[in-house]
């Protein structure tokens, strides 16, 4: 439904003239004597509602359903008319609730039968209703201000529902003429005003109410265009349940509602708590919840008591409380037709307590089709439409088959932690921070900060595998640091320095490094570099962030001569690589192809190998193959140390060795070995033997 359709504004005009005090003549027995107490007691006379009472309660019911299904944007202005006009509320959203209307109605009270009928008329109310329809609502105002140039797109339409007791068809015509005249008059006035809008379309719904047992003086009339602006229809209805039924039909028509009957609801009997019977509850909601039935004209549509159409859906007793994400194509607020009947309130309370109920289409044969779900969110019950047809996304390729699908050491748990830290929460409208950012912009900004340095896989990082770094890593991403935070970061750094001094092993990955795993001092160099990368990414945030970096630069080990030596070493390596390449180039073609072939073999081997490197963290990873340690061929002298002219064999063996060494994590013993000989039980020698695990991340 378009926002500014006729249903945006509904003006209720209820006749408060003396004749409305007349009895509806529908008698209600309210003295229900129980058998045991009935001896010798004369029951009280039944009560009967006045026409006014009937009109009020039915219009309140109309509003109740309307506010349940459309808590916003569908507005009611309630007007009572006798010798004067009583406007009970305004178009303001805050006035749109039944409690407020009930309070105002109590203040008006029933019509006074002794009032002079000559000066009373529903006309006053109709005039006021037209005037009121010209008044701009907050939604129209907001829409006009945001649209600016195209403000004329905002339409002003409305509906007047008049509950009265008319004298005759001529009287009805007089009322219609009066409305039409008033519209023309008011539209002229509105054209020159900012706070008023001319009415483009108005639907007048006249409901003539007469007591039961009387003949009607007014005939029913279908909707008829009285002018391009005004259409009118007349309903002549007996007071009491007929009127209630009529207004129920009207609210459905006016607001595109449809009815669903939930059947087979098991309920404990009031008297016998151990037996249960099945009940039905009828709900109203937006018609679109039935879109699938309407379009395909399914037979589950069927009629109740000739007048009403309702779709019957079967209750499926919920088995679990598990949270599941259903594929839901629509969710529509509901309103029970019989709100305070026992079955209705049982159903709504069950839902309000947080349970969801799946609804099944009743079918004589074939498989079970679940097409809807009832569920409450924040005290509002919604009818969810679930997709019950074949999905076009069935049998999709698994994520493990696509890009990045073969990588097995994603930091799944760490990213889970990251997501928890970046959960969203609602903030009050007024809350804007110093930089005038909305909460959602702040959320994006936080994500940006938290991901400035965020390696995705375990083997890409050292520091995030170390428990010792956690305090610093958690703090450095913050927008502002306190002096205390800086101190914590510094302590973390000192702790790392201490670890280095003690030569504690680091959880460093050997994948991708040349030769056998890096030496301890090299490990620390890698760790310090990574830590520096992390902190550098945040150094611009504040002066305190800079202080953390300063601390790292000051503390990290960088003996200059060692650095120098390493550089030289690397240069030599480069040179060797070059000679190798030159050699290759000068070799005859056959050699090249041969080497290509061998390279291919190596690549393939590498592939197989990397499949073995599995960390079970990633749920979609294939299970690891039986991991057999591959031992490199004869442990040679490290290639870096070979000097002088190299034979082709040595060159080749070195390459193979290097390639092989990449395929597995080097044994800790061999890493720290001297000439391939490792000393066992080293830790016994260390007096302050520290638990190795303390430095590695605790296993989860």
């Amino acid at each position: 439904m378009r926002i500014f359709s006729v249903s945006h504004k509904t003006a209720f005009v209820v006749d408060h003239c003396p004749y409305m005090a007349e009895s509806s003549r529908q008698l209600i027995e309210c003295d229900m004597l129980t058998k045991s107490r009935s001896q010798g007691v004369i029951p009280l006379a039944p009560v009967s509602k006045s026409l006014w009472t009937c009109a009020i309660e039915c219009s309140m019911e109309y509003c109740r359903i309307l506010y349940d299904v459309y808590p916003t944007k569908k507005l009611v202005n309630y007007i009572v008319s006798d010798s004067e006009v009583h406007i009970l509320n305004s178009w303001k959203q805050e006035n749109q609730n039944t409690q407020e209307l009930m309070t105002a109605l109590a203040a008006v009270g029933p019509p006074n039968p002794r009032q002079d009928p000559e000066c009373c008329s529903v006309l006053h109310g109709l005039v006021a209703a037209v005037e009121s329809l010209c008044k701009i609502t907050e939604y129209q105002h907001e829409s006009r201000t945001t649209l600016m140039d195209t403000a004329d797109r905002v339409a002003n339409r409305g509906r007047i529902i008049c509950l009265t007791n008319a004298k005759s068809d001529t009287h009805v015509r007089m009322l219609e003429d009066c409305v039409l005249e008033t519209i023309q008059e008011q539209n002229k006035r509105a054209a020159g005003s900012d706070r008023l809008m001319p009415i483009q379309q108005c639907e007048l719904v006249l409901v003539h109410i007469y007591p039961q047992g009387e003949e009607t003086l007014v005939s029913d009339r279908q909707k008829k265009e009285l002018s391009s602006v005004l259409s009118s229809e007349v309903h002549s209805v007996r007071a009491g349940r007929y009127l209630a039924g009529k207004l129920n039909v009207l609210v459905q028509q006016h607001f595109d509602l449809a009815s669903t009957t939930i059947t087979n609801i098991p309920m404990k009997e009031e008297q016998h708590a151990n037996t249960s019977a099945n009940y039905d509850v009828e709900l109203l909601h937006h018609r679109d919840a039935h879109i699938e039935f309407i379009k395909s004209a399914q037979p589950s549509f069927h009629c109740m008591n000739g007048l009403k159409e309702t779709v019957t859906l079967k209750w499926c007793t919920p088995r679990t409380n598990s949270v599941e994400l259903h594929y839901c194509t629509g969710a529509y607020r509901i309103s029970p037709v019989d709100v305070n009947s026992r079955p209705s309130s049982c159903l709504t309370n069950f839902l309000l307590n947080g349970r969801s109920v799946l609804l099944e289409q009743p079918r004589k044969s074939g498989s079970k089709v679940i097409s809807h779900m009832l569920s409450s969110h924040g005290g509002e019950i919604f009818l969810h439409v679930l997709n019950s047809t074949r999905s076009t996304l069935e049998d999709p390729p698994s994520i493990s088959e696509g890009c990045g699908g073969r990588v097995t050491d994603y930091r799944i748990t760490d990213f889970g932690e990251f997501m928890r830290e970046n959960r969203l929460t609602p903030f009050p409208e007024s809350m804007v921070d110093a930089a005038c950012r909305t909460p959602v912009e702040r959320a994006k900004f936080q994500l940006e900060r938290h991901t400035r340095y965020w390696p995705m896989i375990i083997s890409q990082t050292t520091i995030f595998n170390m428990q010792a770094v956690v305090p610093l890593a958690n703090l450095i991403v913050k927008d502002t640091l306190t002096d205390e935070d800086v101190l914590t970061c510094q302590k973390t750094v000192y702790n790392l320095v201490d670890m280095e001094r003690k030569s504690d092993p680091l959880p460093i990955s050997t994948a991708g490094s040349r030769g056998k795993g890096p030496k301890r001092d090299e490990q620390y160099r890698i760790m310090w570099n990574e830590l520096e990368t992390l902190v550098k990414a945040h150094v611009g945030t504040s002066e305190r962030h800079q202080r953390v970096l300063d601390c790292i630069s000051a503390c990290r080990s960088k003996p200059p001569e060692e650095e120098e030596r390493k550089k030289r070493g690397r240069k030599r390596e480069d040179k060797e690589d070059k000679t190798e390449k030159n050699g290759k180039d000068t070799e005859e073609k056959g050699w090249t192809t041969d080497s290509e072939r061998l390279k291919g073999v190596m690549e393939r081997e590498k592939d197989e190998q990397s499949e073995c490197e599995i960390i079970k963290d990633s749920p979609d990873s294939p299970e690891p193959l039986n991991k057999k340690p591959r031992l490199a061929t004869e442990e040679q002298q490290p290639p870096e140390k070979s000097k002088g002219p190299v034979s082709l064999l040595t060159l080749w063996t070195n390459r193979i060795t290097q390639a092989n060494s990449r395929k597995h994590q080097e044994f800790a013993g061999r890493l720290s070995s001297v000439n391939s000989k490792a000393e066992l039980y080293q830790h016994l020698k260390e007096e302050n033997g520290m638990d190795v695990h303390e430095n590695g991340k605790a296993t989860r």
Binding site: I3, P110, T392, L447
Partner: protein, 519 residues
């Protein structure tokens, strides 16, 4: 978005095309050529699309039911037979039926009609169908507009001039209009030849089957992705703001929410988010001299092995039971989550919410959602036991607030009986007695139902006379007090009939502290 191809197999399709070259083509051959091109494109760039092939003449026949197997489709194209005259209405009805049977009425579908533009003569011709379109009875309605959201693409193996010479063009345009303007007519430019049929189908591919590529972003973590099926533009509230909204190619994650908190939200559409490798030439591929297919597989292998953010995100969303809120455009959001199918294969899925600032009432305005760490107190609690969602509406709905409705006599009777039941258990039930009494009083005042107040007062007075000797003396006091208060209210005297006024229990010697304390 499945595709139904509706291929004209009438005799007129076998008309030869006059070309100067040596080869002689029929219009049918051109149609097959175009469709082959379409199927090849789909097989490589759009391979998750379900496609069905239907041929029609005066009858229609499903040659290939909806499938992703493009070889089968191609095979069927190679084995076409020729039939009699063109009868489009029946064929459209057929397509409508098979789509509804397979996908229901809410799944959008593309219908590609391939015809030579000779739309039949006499009864059953499109002209005849359109002339009688307004005179149909309920069960013989014209199949357009389709009951499901659809696009109707008409591929004419004819050029525009040829179609305009007869009323074919008008009729086809009318067809698109009947489908709510959803669709397009393609004609061939220049002479009918392979080249122009290629260019025509090329346009269709660009229009309807170009893959949607985007960048998924979470701060500095990014991944190139293909979103399938392609998200189509969405128009909401045609009245005020009729601009169609398109999903931008930069999908930015805003934050994360628990599955229980987002709680099965209604969505416009669902899409797979597939990470793709952007091929940087020679960057990652070591060996050069291999042929195309090998290169492709090795690229794929390399791509499989380089870490991808989508896979990380998917894994964590699955393990944590969360969704990522993602911004699709200005004031438009969606969610990313892990979706597992029956075979336990799981994938990253994106659902689009309705455009607007508040797509889900229980989340509130999305622009007001911010990082939980900014809140003064952790809204999720220190031990994750709380949640800031769902947001409570300002006013309770009628079913959550014990409203009074007396439209049915039973409603009124229940309320009266409730009061009497409590009246008989005074003074134990003093509190509930007055609560129910005041509820009835308020409703009666609002409805102007003063007669009920009087009757209720009489009932209470009678209850007073029926009290047994063993009854607590307080009961009699409370009953007559309540009855008197109701009578006063029914007088309409503003002092007693005020809506907000509540009848309070009478303070008696017997009730002393006890009775009053309970209130």
């Amino acid at each position: 978005m499945p595709t139904a191809v509706l291929l004209d197999s009438s005799l007129s399709m076998t008309r030869p095309v006059s070309v100067e070259g040596s080869e002689e083509f029929q219009r049918k051959n051109l149609a097959v050529h175009g469709l082959t091109m379409l199927f090849e494109h789909m097989a490589t760039n759009y391979r998750l699309e379900f496609t069905s092939l239907v041929s029609f003449s005066s009858l229609w026949e499903v040659l290939v039911p909806f499938t992703r197997d493009y070889n089968t489709l191609q095979e069927a194209l190679n084995n076409l037979e020729d039939y009699d005259k063109t009868c489009l209405e029946a064929a459209l009805q057929g397509v409508s039926n098979i789509v509804q049977q397979e996908w229901g009425t809410s799944c959008p579908c593309q219908v590609v009609l391939v015809t030579d533009g000779a739309l039949g003569i006499g009864r059953g011709s499109l002209r005849h169908s359109l002339q009688t379109v307004k005179q149909r009875v309920e069960d013989k309605k014209f199949p357009l507009p389709f009951p499901f959201p659809s696009k109707l693409y008409v591929m004419c193996i004819a050029n525009a001039e040829e179609l305009q010479a007869t009323d074919s063009m008008d009729n086809l345009e009318q067809l698109i209009n009947l489908n709510g303007g959803e669709g397009q007519i393609y004609t061939m430019e220049g002479p009918l030849c392979l080249k122009s049929v290629q260019s025509m189908f090329g346009k269709l591919i660009d229009q309807a089957y170009s893959p949607f590529h985007a960048v998924l972003r979470c701060g500095n973590l990014t991944s190139d992705v293909q979103v399938f099926p392609r998200p189509e533009p969405v128009t909401i509230d045609e009245e005020v703001d009729p601009m169609p909204r398109t999903v931008q190619t930069d999908l930015e994650i805003v934050g994360f929410i628990e599955i229980g908190d987002i709680s099965s939200p209604p969505v416009l559409s669902r899409h797979l988010v597939l990470p793709i490798a952007v091929n940087k030439e020679g960057d990652e591929i070591g060996t050069g001299a291999t042929d195309d297919t090998e290169e492709e597989t090795s690229t794929n292998q390399m791509a499989g092995k380089s870490p991808n953010f989508c896979v990380l995100l998917h894994g964590s969303l699955k393990v944590e039971g969360m969704v990522a809120l993602v911004q699709l455009g200005p004031d438009w959001f969606g969610m990313l989550y892990s979706q597992a199918d029956s075979k336990k294969k799981s994938n990253l899925m994106m659902s689009l919410f309705e455009p607007g600032s508040e797509p889900l009432p229980w989340l509130g305005r999305i622009s007001q959602l911010g990082p939980a760490s900014d809140a003064a107190e952790n809204p999720y609690g220190e031990d994750d036991s709380k949640s800031p969602f769902p947001i409570q509406p300002k006013h309770k709905r009628s079913y959550a607030q014990n409203v009074t409705v007396w439209i049915k006599a039973s409603g009124l009777q229940t309320d009266v009986q409730k009061i009497l039941r409590n009246a008989r258990k005074l003074p134990e039930k003093t509190q509930t007695f007055y609560k129910e009494l005041n509820r009835l009083r308020k409703a009666a005042l609002a409805f102007g139902f003063w007669e009920l107040l009087k009757s209720m007062a009489e009932l209470l007075e009678r209850e007073c006379t029926l009290l047994s000797d063993s009854a607590h003396p307080d009961a009699a006091f409370q009953l007559s007090h309540a009855a008197q208060q109701l009578k006063l209210a029914s007088s309409g005297d503003s002092k007693y009939a005020a809506y907000e006024h509540n009848i309070t229990p009478m303070l008696t010697d017997f009730s002393g502290g006890g009775g009053a304390d309970r209130i």
